[in-house]
Assembly symmetry: C2
Amino acid sequence: MTHNHLRSLLFRQLFENVSSTYTYVLACTASKEAIIIDPVLETVDRDSKLINELGVKLLYALNTHVHADHVTGTGELKKHFPLMKTVLANKANAKSDLQVQHGEKIDFGRKSLEVRATPGHTNGCLTYVLHEDRMAFTGDALLIRGCGRTDFQQGNARTLYRSVHQQILSLPPDYSLFPAHDYSGLTCTSVEEERNFNPRLTKTEDEFIDLMKNLNLPYPKHMEYSVPANMVCGIYDLMDEKTRKTVEQSLEEHN
Amino acid sequence: MTHNHLRSLLFRQLFENVSSTYTYVLACTASKEAIIIDPVLETVDRDSKLINELGVKLLYALNTHVHADHVTGTGELKKHFPLMKTVLANKANAKSDLQVQHGEKIDFGRKSLEVRATPGHTNGCLTYVLHEDRMAFTGDALLIRGCGRTDFQQGNARTLYRSVHQQILSLPPDYSLFPAHDYSGLTCTSVEEERNFNPRLTKTEDEFIDLMKNLNLPYPKHMEYSVPANMVCGIYDLMDEKTRKTVEQSLEEHN
């Protein structure tokens, strides 16, 4: 977040307070090429304004996965930045401009994100790692002192446990981790902290599976239209009519 | 926020969602000595837990000023960290363990914050600058695309305008700026951005004064007990009985 010009990364963390979602803007300060991770429909105007003020060129809008608790802003962002490409995992079986898989790189200017498959919350969950800046964007796979739920959308606790341990907590201890959500005002964590203090992921695999089985969480309120909307990256023209109307109405109520 | 170990700064931004306040924890990773800026009463347990998990030693709890919209957490933090010292500006005319003034340094390990007087929102407003990490903590003097109000607590728009221009926007353009509040989910900004896009501070001094005169904002809801509580850094034993009881009751309702 500091030394932006020297380190040539421009970084902004943004918060959407209804779904408690973090959106991230990253840009290479040398080339001004930029990406956005997990934008939210309701905050697209804020994010577009910021992107324009920062004077960066938005190449990609990445979703870490098909969210169930809010509608992605990637569709609406395309209206502001028509050349921008939406990105999802190929394993999401969804519609996006680009479908990426484990091991691929996503380049913006001199920067390069490594794509890591971290399924378990959903099949298509991705973690994006920016090695040279020692940071990773974990979506809902790993939250600060928590993790995404595993009780719907192909959720599988054993898969999630292995993803987090093999792909995220195996990174160097000082790597900063940025989740898709936080509900208590924390903004980031580190590999070391989560290895030591994550109350779920420090358990054994079997204990973790047991714990996840018994969370008894209510279903997300807007899941019935968020999921189909996000399966097409929030592009109105690709939604079925009922979904589109519900999304439009929900946005209207918010504004 | 990244390169923590190499750059030897551990940095955490924390958000309190009732008063939309940002709290900051900074530590020198070499010595583990740490400070906290603008803690909030309601989130002291969260912050104490994090400080303990990070394994750092809290030297100082700094308030950028005597807040009017929430009760500082510095008093409650002293119960968790008895050796920690509270800090306010000498110009605040308040009770704190340390009273600092323009030009002083606050050291923690190998790190050193420069104290800059930035009055205008209140007489005792301070901005803390961490030059080697190219970041500054501006309190309510400068907010992201905004600034603190100037209609109570010794507020003076002309003074604020000069403070911000002479002490904050005169820093190098790439310095990151971290405010005490944000109400739209933005987490930080830069000197360059605010020089170009702050809708208030890019005006002339006279236009700014005019604008600030006509904001017609409602008074902060909890001002009548927040200000006297914060004038003693939130230390219960130093509050008058009515203030202490109101603060205790408000905290109880929150929990």
